[in-house]
């Protein structure tokens, strides 16, 4: 599946900016289109606010599971277990 792309014209709407925000943020838009997104963001406070809260959402998602009391996270594998596993591998 190829990703849909924003329409080719010299400006973009809020709808296009928010729909293709993922491609804009990952630098996957063509240079010309990236520029029209930049220009839109320079004059659209609503899209700038959306972009800020979108980025905050990503950081909050990552941070919300780092609470050591509620979410212990990925436990390290005990060193002894690693050694035992590697010893079995070497024997095989």
């Amino acid at each position: 599946m190829s990703a849909p792309t924003p329409e080719s014209r010299p400006f973009v709407t809020c709808q296009e900016v928010l729909t293709f925000l993922w491609a804009y943020l990952s630098g996957e838009l063509e240079a010309e289109k990236q520029k029209t997104f930049d220009e839109h963001l320079e004059r659209c406070p609503s899209c700038v606010a959306y972009l800020g809260s979108y980025r905050a959402t990503i950081e909050l998602t990552k941070g919300a599971f780092e609470d050591p009391v509620c979410e212990p996270g990925i436990e390290e594998v005990p060193e002894d277990l690693v050694k035992a596993v590697m010893a079995v591998r070497r024997k095989e």
Binding site: L18, P45, S46, G52, T61, K62, C70, I74, V82
Partner: protein
């Protein structure tokens, strides 16, 4: 590993089963562990795969539509309503335990296929390529699904975090 499984399958019994199955699977495929990644990373991926199998095996419920949680627009393409800044910076929000709990609750409200992608990419830090392979979708489809999941989560958080908190 149990914490990873709990996050993904949201059911204690299934989470314990998934971890147990993962360890059995890891033991059986030990010779395929190349030692190029850390053993914890290798085990983590096996646990994630076991959880995804559990999720696939559950009786399928009709998936909740995500459209209601995506941004809305007027006919001319302007946002409706316009977005406003959130009142506090992220690092301040993350110091508040109730906000962390709120974020986790909102993630749980996402439709399952979107929630899974969000967890794989943003929490479990599985690469786009690997997550697409795990879920049997193209990388572009995965990127779009992740974007929609983040947008939906943003919509759920917005009433709590916009303006004065």
């Amino acid at each position: 590993m149990l914490a990873v499984a709990r996050r993904l399958v949201r059911n204690e019994e299934d989470a314990r089963d998934a971890v147990q199955e993962a360890f059995v699977s890891a033991f059986r495929s030990l010779e395929r562990f190349e030692g190029t990644s850390r053993i914890s990373t290798w085990l983590h991926r096996i646990v994630v795969n076991c959880c995804l199998m559990k999720l696939r095996g559950r009786q399928r419920r009709p998936e909740e539509a995500i459209e209601d949680l995506l941004p809305r627009f007027q006919e001319d393409g302007h946002q409706m309503p316009a977005s406003v800044d959130w009142s506090e910076p992220v690092d301040a929000l993350l110091h508040r335990r109730e906000i962390c709990a709120l974020v986790r609750q909102c993630i749980d409200r996402l439709p399952e296929s979107y929630r899974t992608v969000l967890l794989l990419r943003d929490i479990e830090e599985v690469s786009t390529n690997e997550a697409a392979t795990m879920l049997g979708v193209t990388e572009n489809a995965l990127k779009i699904r992740l974007h929609r999941a983040r947008q939906a989560l943003r919509t759920l958080l917005d009433p709590h975090l916009r303006g004065a908190v």
